[in-house]
Structure formats: structure tokens, C-alpha cells
């Protein structure tokens, strides 16, 4: 596809943050499963997954903010391709 210059299409360093939800929810799940601590009497594995939701929202929000910060080498968004 030729129209790949739109601002949505470039990956930047801070996009690596988006790996964190996968690490939290999935990669750490087997380890967390062995923790028998029960905060507020709740199963820890469940509290962990719920906390992961908050973390995810926070991370996507952060990435969104960073995405909107102007970048010197970037054209204004939605600028038609020359």
C-alpha cells in the first residue's frame, strides 16, 4: 500500500509500553497463580487481573498523550500525500 505516511503508521519508542499489558496479564500469570496471599479475602490471581485492567488503561492513556505531542520531523496529521 502506498498511502502509508499517515501519522498512524509509524511506530515510535514509547509504543513499546504497549507490551506491558501482555506481560502483566499473561506472561506473569503462571507465577502469580502460585501466590496464596488473599488481599481483602479475594483470590490474588483475580486481584492481579483486575489491577491489570487499570494498568492497561493507564498505559494506553499515556501512549495516547505521547502520540499527540508534536514531533519535529513529523508533518501535520492528515496532510495529503504530496
Amino acid at each position: 500500500m502506498s498511502e502509508t505516511s499517515q501519522d498512524t503508521r509509524t511506530l515510535r519508542a514509547h509504543h513499546a509500553l504497549m507490551l506491558l499489558p501482555f506481560i502483566w496479564h499473561l506472561a506473569l500469570a503462571p507465577m502469580i497463580n502460585d501466590v496464596r496471599w488473599q488481599p481483602w479475602g479475594l483470590p490474588f490471581a483475580m486481584v492481579w487481573q483486575m489491577a491489570g485492567i487499570l494498568v492497561t488503561s493507564l498505559i494506553i492513556g499515556t501512549v495516547y498523550r505521547l502520540d499527540r505531542e508534536p514531533r519535529p520531523d513529523r508533518q501535520p496529521p492528515n496532510d495529503p500525500q504530496p
Binding site: Q6, F22, P30, L42, P43, A45, M50, T56, I60, V63
Partner: protein
């Protein structure tokens, strides 16, 4: 079930349908109803309406009845509800604006349109269209199962299952014929508010109903009674729902969420890419409400709820019918109807438009009037297929849901490679799909794969096979001259 409960459930459904039709009529463009308006809402959805229609598609009866049943029968495996939206949104933040952009610049209406445009092959569009329709029918099956459960609860279990699901399908078709995406979005908003109200009321009162002191006490008691419930593999170790299953199934759901044709198509309806990105920030928080849904499943376990025939999809309905007053039973029945009806009708609508546009139209000339006729006839056939599936299957809604994700996951390599790897060709994608479906549905291949990747969700394993085949063929193919 008392008459008052029936009355409440009936009024909820009727009022919502009428209000949503009125809403759509008011917003209809002066030019009349065209395909763009009907299928992608005129591509003008802002943040709020996009949120609601998106939530409407994610939080269906799969969430309410499926997850309570899963918590009741297995315990910890129900946590998959917490991960699916989170990870789907993380992925969606990256993927959905790309889908939106492809849709906007190419004037696309369906997911198969994307394949036609990206891979320059109408035949691939037809193949992908049929594959998408099959997965959609499996998803409609979930909604029909739920609707017929409600019918049998409200009208008495003397109603044969075949009648109940046929009636459910009829109701769904009626709603599709009358509504477009915009009415569905409005009805989705109402049903979401109702579901939240219901979940909060049920969650807030459930402790007292089962003799616990507080919500947290419900969790404590159920863990005392069943020490293994809170962690994997949960109550039934023989079911194979361990952490390996959890990680692979959750990943497969996240990868498949936007690949479902109706979700893919929904991206086209957004006003701009920013709407989609903002939605991805807030959407995960909504899934915290699964706390209450799992709570209800655990409470039903404490209460010793025994659904008819041990059917775990009916646990919540049975529990509420046993322990709550008729008006709440009515509220639940009405809400579940909407939870099934609204997403279900959108699924049929999507399947109908794909069939007309990507399967029939390439074969022969189709006029405007004929297109509508074909779409509507096709929807009846698809609904009938879903009814048949409902009658032959006794599985948990979650299991059916995961099977549907497995099926739709076979289109995922075509979408992801489509955006990431310009060299992939139509032939490679089709070969990958053939290999993937073989791995998924041909018993010997499936068995072989499950020995190679023990404990994996079969959908993710098959998607891996699919992606590998695409990669190998793409690398082996001679490089095309740069265009």
C-alpha cells in the same frame, strides 16, 4: 415465573426496540436510507456512540450468562473475562486506526472488501467472506442459546428447545429488518445501562441472599468451601483449564476480537482515528464490572443453585429466579433478551451484507433492490443454521465463544500481515487459511497439534500454523518488482 416478571421483561424489550427505531428515524439523512448509513452509520460515529456500540458488541450474553456459569462450574478460569478486553484494546489501539484508514481511503464496507483491496483478489474476498460468515453464525448461536434460555425461563420449560430458539431467531430477524447500525447502537446504549444497573443491584444484594456478611465475605466463604476455586486450574482440574490454557486462550481472543467481521466493520463507522484511540483508553475499565459477574457465579455456588440439567449457561437465571423477587427476575430476563438481541442482529446484518457484496456480487450482476432481497434471504438461512447449531450443542457459552474465536482467528494472519508485510500475496494467505482450518477442524491434525503444544488453546495453535504457512510461502515466492 410470575406475570409481573413477564410484563417487566416484555416492556423492557418492546420499549427499547421502539425507542431505538425512533432514534434512527430521526437521524436518517434526507437522501433516505443508503447502504453506507445502514451498515457503517454514515461513517460519523463520535466518541460516545462509538463507545456504546463497541461495548455492545463486546459485552453480550457471553459475558453475563457465560462468565457466571464458568465461575460457578470452574472458578478461576472465568478470569479470562478480565484479560480479553484489556488486551484487545491494547492491540486495537494500534490496529483499529489502520483498519479505519484503509476503510476510509478505499471506501470499504465489509471486512472482505479489505482483503479484495489489499490483496487485489476478488476470489480471496469471497473465501474470506464465507469464513467470516461461518464464525458469525457460531457467534449468533451463543445469542440464540441465551435467548431461548430466557424464553424457557419466562414461558415455562414446557416450551420445547427447538421452539424457543426458533422464536429467538425470528425476533432477531425482525429487529434486523427494522433496524440499521444506528438503531442498534442506540439499543446497545440502553442495554449497557440496564446491564450495569442490574449488575450493581444484584452484586449489592447478593451477600444477604446467600447468608454472607458482605461481597468480600462471599469470596471468603466460597474459598473455604472450595480451596482451589481462586487459582488455576480451578474447581475441575480434569477440564484442562490451567494457566497454559488461560494464556493461550486469552491471547487468541485478543488477537481475534477485531478480526470478527462486525468488529472490523465497526472501525469504518468511526468519525476519525482519534475517536477509536480514545475509546481504547476507556473501554478496558468497563470490564472491571466482571468482578460482580464472577461474584454472582460464586454466590450461586454458595447457594447450591442447581440449574435444570446441570446446564451452566442457566446458572444465573436459575439463581435469580430462586432467590429474588419477580420484578428483578423480569429486569434480568429483559436485559438478557437485549444483550442477545442487539449484538445478534448486528451479527446477522454483517453476515448478510458480506454474502451479498463479497460472495454473490462477484459472480453475477446485482441491482440495488436485488441486493436487499438477497441479503435478507441469506440472513434467514444463516439464522436457521444458528438454530440448528443451538439444538445440537450442549456446550458452555464460553466454550462456544472460544470455538468461534478459533474460527475467526484464521483470518488474523491476513489482516496483520496485510498491514505489516507488503510482500504477502493472496495465494499465501489462502494457503495459510487452508492449513489453519485443517489444524483446527480435522480431528487427526488437531490431535497432532495438541501433542506438539500440550494444553494450548486449539485456536491459537491453529493460528500459529496458519501464520507459519503464510510466512514460508511468502519468503519462498519470488520477489515481485517494486511497484
Amino acid at each position: 415465573m410470575t406475570a409481573s416478571a413477564l410484563l417487566i421483561a416484555g416492556s423492557i424489550v418492546a420499549l427499547t426496540v421502539i425507542a431505538s427505531l425512533w432514534y434512527a428515524a430521526r437521524h436518517r439523512s434526507a437522501a433516505g436510507l443508503n447502504l453506507d448509513e445502514w451498515a457503517v452509520g454514515g461513517r460519523r460515529f463520535g466518541t460516545w456512540i462509538f463507545w456504546f456500540v463497541n461495548a455492545g458488541e463486546i459485552y453480550t450474553t457471553f459475558a453475563l450468562l457465560g462468565i457466571t456459569g464458568y465461575a460457578w462450574a470452574f472458578g478461576a478460569p472465568a478470569y479470562i473475562a478480565f484479560t480479553s478486553v484489556s488486551l484487545a484494546c491494547t492491540l486495537g489501539y494500534w490496529l483499529m486506526p489502520r483498519i479505519w484508514h484503509a476503510g476510509r481511503s478505499g471506501g470499504l464496507l465489509t471486512q472482505a472488501d479489505y482483503f479484495v483491496q489489499r490483496y487485489q483478489a476478488r476470489w480471496l474476498g469471497a473465501v474470506v467472506g464465507i469464513a467470516g460468515i461461518i464464525a458469525l453464525i457460531m457467534y449468533v448461536q451463543i445469542q440464540l442459546t441465551a435467548l431461548s434460555l430466557v424464553f424457557r425461563l419466562t414461558l415455562g420449560s414446557a416450551l420445547p428447545a427447538a421452539w424457543a430458539s426458533s422464536l429467538a431467531a425470528l425476533l432477531m430477524l425482525l429487529f434486523v429488518y427494522l433496524a440499521g447500525l444506528r438503531s442498534a447502537a442506540f439499543a446497545a446504549g440502553i442495554k449497557d445501562v440496564l446491564m450495569l444497573v442490574l449488575v450493581v443491584i444484584l452484586g449489592g444484594t447478593v451477600a444477604a441472599k446467600v447468608g454472607a456478611d458482605s461481597m468480600l465475605d462471599v469470596f471468603q466463604r466460597v474459598q473455604q468451601l472450595h480451596p482451589n476455586i481462586g487459582h488455576f486450574p480451578g474447581l475441575d482440574a480434569a477440564a484442562g483449564l490451567d494457566t497454559t490454557w488461560f494464556v493461550t486462550a486469552a491471547l487468541n481472543v485478543a488477537l481475534g476480537t477485531w478480526i470478527f467481521p462486525h468488529m472490523f466493520q465497526l472501525c469504518f463507522a468511526a468519525r476519525d482515528a482519534d475517536t477509536i484511540r480514545r475509546n481504547a483508553i476507556w473501554q478496558p475499565l468497563y470490564s472491571l464490572s466482571y468482578f460482580f459477574i464472577i461474584l454472582l457465579g460464586f454466590a450461586a455456588l454458595l447457594a447450591g443453585t442447581q440449574p435444570e440439567g446441570g446446564n451452566l449457561n442457566a446458572v444465573l437465571l436459575q439463581f435469580v429466579a430462586d432467590r429474588y423477587s419477580p420484578w428483578l427476575v423480569g429486569l434480568l430476563a429483559g436485559t438478557v433478551c437485549l444483550l442477545a438481541l442487539v449484538p445478534g442482529s448486528l451479527l446477522l446484518l454483517t453476515a448478510g451484507s458480506i454474502f451479498t457484496r463479497n460472495v454473490v456480487a462477484p459472480l453475477r450482476e446485482v441491482g440495488e433492490r436485488q441486493a436487499v432481497w438477497i441479503a435478507r434471504t441469506a440472513m434467514i438461512v444463516f439464522a436457521a443454521c444458528a438454530v440448528l447449531l443451538t439444538l445440537t450443542s450442549n456446550e458452555s457459552l464460553v466454550a462456544v465463544g472460544l470455538a468461534a474465536y478459533g474460527a475467526i482467528g484464521m483470518l488474523a494472519p491476513g489482516v496483520f500481515f496485510g498491514f505489516l508485510w507488503p510482500r504477502t500475496s493472496a495465494l499465501a494467505i489462502a494457503a495459510g487459511m487452508a492449513a489453519g482450518y485443517t489444524a483446527l477442524w480435522w480431528a487427526p491434525a488437531r490431535q497432532l497439534l495438541s501433542t506438539a503444544l500440550p494444553g494450548w488453546d486449539s485456536g491459537l495453535a491453529a493460528m500459529l500454523v496458519n501464520a507459519l504457512v503464510v510466512a514460508v510461502i511468502t519468503l519462498a515466492a519470488p520477489r515481485r518488482p517494486a511497484s
